[in-house]
């Protein structure tokens, strides 16, 4: 079965040299794609997770009574929202990466930085998407009536308890469609990690078609389909979640 499959693509490459699906008939190239896919998934999951955490905490800090806390959050948002994520990646890796300490690597003599390029990609992309998430959650929070929060205060809830148990669950529901959009964008933006040589899907694809120009079209098609698939899963999961969180008799 697998034999016929690889044979078909090998034959296809012979007959039509521009359509060399090399990753389907050469195990080493397939391994590159798999590795790329794994890195893309790790990047996506880590960035989605951390950016949502940043959004939740940032939105909480934005409602702080302290002017300075609010200003810091505002400064963070302005910086990360108004500058290109590509430049941020380069800045984190090449500028900040200079100042992080190194440790001796597993081979016993090379110096390895504490934060790898994957680490920097996760930090940088999470901060980038997190800035949007803060604003997204803030709009959700503003939709929660003041009077509902007042009722919580009257019952003895502290500001933090009110946020966690009352405001956030309601704000989340309002924010989900906008959050959905931002996370979809984030998953696609992980391809920019190619700039700092994170071996994700785009990096592996470019490597393949540099080595085998005949594989360029097939690899591009694979890239498109992979992202349609990945984003599809995310959107499916988010809409399932949205439905599960719907409250009878509340909202639309």
């Amino acid at each position: 079965m697998l034999e016929t499959f690889t044979e078909f693509f090998r034959q296809l490459a012979d007959d039509y040299p521009r359509w060399n699906f090399i990753f389907f008939h050469e195990p080493r190239q397939w391994a590159r794609i798999v590795k790329g896919f794994q890195h893309t998934i790790v990047l996506s999951i880590a960035c989605v997770f951390f950016s949502v955490i940043i959004g939740v905490i940032g939105a909480w800090m934005q409602s702080s009574p302290s002017v300075w806390v609010r200003r810091i959050v505002q400064g963070y948002i302005q910086f990360f929202r108004n500058t290109p994520p590509f430049v941020q990646l380069l800045f984190f890796y090449f500028a900040l990466g200079q100042f992080t300490p190194s440790v001796t690597g597993p081979d016993g003599w090379t110096e390895v930085p504490i934060i790898s390029n994957i680490g920097w990609a996760i930090i940088s992309l999470s901060l980038f998407a997190g800035a949007f998430n803060v604003e997204i959650f803030r709009s959700g929070i503003e939709a929660v009536p003041e009077s509902t929060q007042e009722a919580a205060s009257a019952l003895g809830f502290s500001r933090l308890q009110t946020y966690i148990d009352v405001v956030l669950p309601l704000a989340f529901r309002v924010s989900l469609p906008a959050l959905n959009n931002n996370l979809v964008n984030l998953v696609k933006t992980t391809t920019q990690a190619i700039a700092i040589a994170v071996p994700e899907l785009l990096y592996q694809s470019v490597s393949i078609w540099s080595d085998y120009p005949s594989a360029q079209y097939p690899t591009m098609i694979l890239l498109f389909l992979s992202f349609i698939f990945l984003v599809g899963i995310l959107v499916f999961g988010m809409s399932r979640w949205e439905r599960a969180m719907r409250i009878p008799g509340y909202g639309g």
Partner: protein, 251 residues
Amino acid sequence: MPQHAWTDDQPIVSIKDVHKSFGNLEVLKGISMDVMKGEVICIIGPSGSGKSTLIRCINALNDIQAGSIQVEGLEVNDKDLNKLELRKKVGMVFQQYNLFPHKTALENIMMAPIKVLKENPVEVEARARGLITKVRLEGKEGAYPGELSGGQQQRVAIARSLAMNPDIMLFDEVTAALDPETVKEVLVTIQDLAEDGMTCMLVTHEMGFAKEIADHIYFTDRGVIVEHGPPATFFDKAEDPRTREFLSQIL
């Protein structure tokens, strides 16, 4: 400020010369009243007279600029006030119910004792079910606020406050947003509470109810108490012309 021990022969709520402004607008211009334990008092008056503001100040939802409010000896006008201490003593019910829309009726009632008082959820649930029965909402435990009528939501809100075992209940125009048919079911619930000996302070426009339930009635207008007294003398022998005019329009 040293807290002197409160005993129940002293007023449970003692309000002295309270002044409250929103910006330049002075809403309370020197209000004083004492409420004894177990008393039911009603505050009536035209819109904008400051009556809602007054009871919101009692549990520190609004701060005051001058004067003193003491709840069981606890000074509310104190920047170091332990708000949790105060709010354990004082329950509040709002005009718009303000239930937590993402929680069922039962969960609404259970939430504060579990989250705030860190009580055992099993015990809290038993108590919450008892309160559901008390406010006559058996069968609605699993309903979300959006699935309940206004009157039912308001009774859940009352039960939610009672779950904290307060000593005083504040009611801020709790029937003002209700259909006339459902007003009664809420009033009956409050009456039950009053008969159980709960100290109640109500801001209300339900004169008939006030007359029936109150031990003492306060009439406020433009930030001051114009007249007060027990219902019998208040309704029949009001002396101040403003009170008489208000009553004549309402009754």
